[in-house]
Symmetry: C2
Subunit: 345 residues, 2 copies
Amino acid sequence: MLKNDLLLKALRQEEVSRPPVWMMRQAGRYLPEYIALRKQYDFFTRVQTPELACAITLQPVDIVGVDAAIIFSDILVIPQAMGLEVLMEESKGPVLPNTIKSASDVDKLTVSVNDQLQYAFDAISLTKKELNDRVPLIGFAGAPFTLLCYMVEGKGSKAFEKARAFCFTQPALASKLLQKITNATIQYLKGQAKAGADVVQVFDSWSGLLGPDDFNLFAAPYLLQIAEALAPHVPVILFPKGSNYALRELSNHACVSGISLDWTIRPADARKETQNRVTLQGNFDPSKLLMSPNEIAREVHSMIDAFGTQGYIANLGHGISPNVPVENANAFVQAVKEYTHVAVH
Amino acid sequence: MLKNDLLLKALRQEEVSRPPVWMMRQAGRYLPEYIALRKQYDFFTRVQTPELACAITLQPVDIVGVDAAIIFSDILVIPQAMGLEVLMEESKGPVLPNTIKSASDVDKLTVSVNDQLQYAFDAISLTKKELNDRVPLIGFAGAPFTLLCYMVEGKGSKAFEKARAFCFTQPALASKLLQKITNATIQYLKGQAKAGADVVQVFDSWSGLLGPDDFNLFAAPYLLQIAEALAPHVPVILFPKGSNYALRELSNHACVSGISLDWTIRPADARKETQNRVTLQGNFDPSKLLMSPNEIAREVHSMIDAFGTQGYIANLGHGISPNVPVENANAFVQAVKEYTHVAVH
């Protein structure tokens, strides 16, 4: 039994005394303890060594006091396990030297990924043990469209024009690729649930580059397949970043427990689109974590005022930035925890 | 009298036989004729030499047959005229070595910019003469928030986190900077109208990085000041890219004739938000210009079906990419021009 099950209760839309809080990329570069490990071990060593991934995952639980841990990993472990080389230079972002161009590139990709991802399951098992039921553990994967973006473009990009053009000019091949990624991801997330993940989140970091009709072709069907396959095992949170146009439709599916929002939508509008069909998560602008702790608290309280305390998970609208002082991250978390004490509703 | 005044009619919401069409960045790198000039003259030589800017502006009118010219220039001419150095390397994007950090940096900026921007007015006068009333000429400027992004960040960025943090942590200084940029921009756009621009467009390329409340603080007031100052002289089109949440409010102001949209909004939703208070422009996904000419025509026709032919300007949702074949750009323009012949409404 979890000692702090606020996150799970919020995802089941059960009554909570206050909203749970965690931060995307909470195990990351704003923490001196993380930077210390980064100096010793390269990126994939940290990801693939269960003891290191576990230690990094626990850092924000111990230091910042979040209500959930999220396993330290990367969305690109799936393309890697499917057979694509992924280079990760800390300052430059990921590079995939052999991009997907043709049908034979797609055919070569493996779908049976779990043997190669055993390290992730081991990291989850170990972390569950070390967490000792203090807070739930979130597993995650990248969404198929977002992974396609990297697999076709070969690197990060503002607009992923090559990847989008791939979808538009070779839609049948894009579907085939998206389906293979989906199958691999379902297997991977089921493995994470089996290893002990209490919740899974699917990050569609680039879905907002698609217009509404193209989202329905290249993103939504795969997100929903994943949600349907995982929902019998664990609650599923989707994060279709920038795709506010899709909230109504995605929230109509019972397999989706939560939707994570970026900061470009008013909480009231998000509630209107999704009614009370899903729990909403988000959506603090991470740049506001550079405000003073007092100002952060004020902004957090007005965010909770707007979302309401029920069916809600306080979070950022995107990952925390490396230049945020730890005390400001603390201020964010504390502002949520103290909400019931300061506000009258 | 203009021989082709479709754009002006559409902006006045007068009846048109078909929607006008032009493309953002239509005078650009997809045209071999542009690349030829680029090989001979560096960026600011092209911008600051009226004969070159005029020649580049006319290229897409002659080659692709668009219904409007837009003066060849850059949004960063305003920061430059205000006193900041702007370096432009063709492949790397702009760099502003002396970023705005403090009150004294803001104080140093000049607001009286028009003497330094005489080349732009000369380019407009010359282009009007050379156009010989074939199509209208659009003038433009960057929106204050977008210019602040570059002036504070010092270069292009995915998320302009430094610029947003500047706004959030020093809101009074940000307001002061935005007001100075606004004053300079009004002067500049009035000069463009006086020199012969028939329409002006204000590009808020990065406003979508702001949440709705912050858009109301850091973007909307300045966009509307500009629109109010220019509306007595020329129709004003605003392009608050990514800020779909702002459509209803912006369209409530009579000084705004047109709003340009990116492709992340359904035409029906944009009409619902704006009713018939403004003309809408957009919103073809530029990555779709890599589809075949036939497919482009099909997509363009369904876009016009969705927007309707009246109070509408066919355009892209963002600038045309350098890798688009000229014949595909032609297919886009032709598909709009032939719309009345192929569709029954």
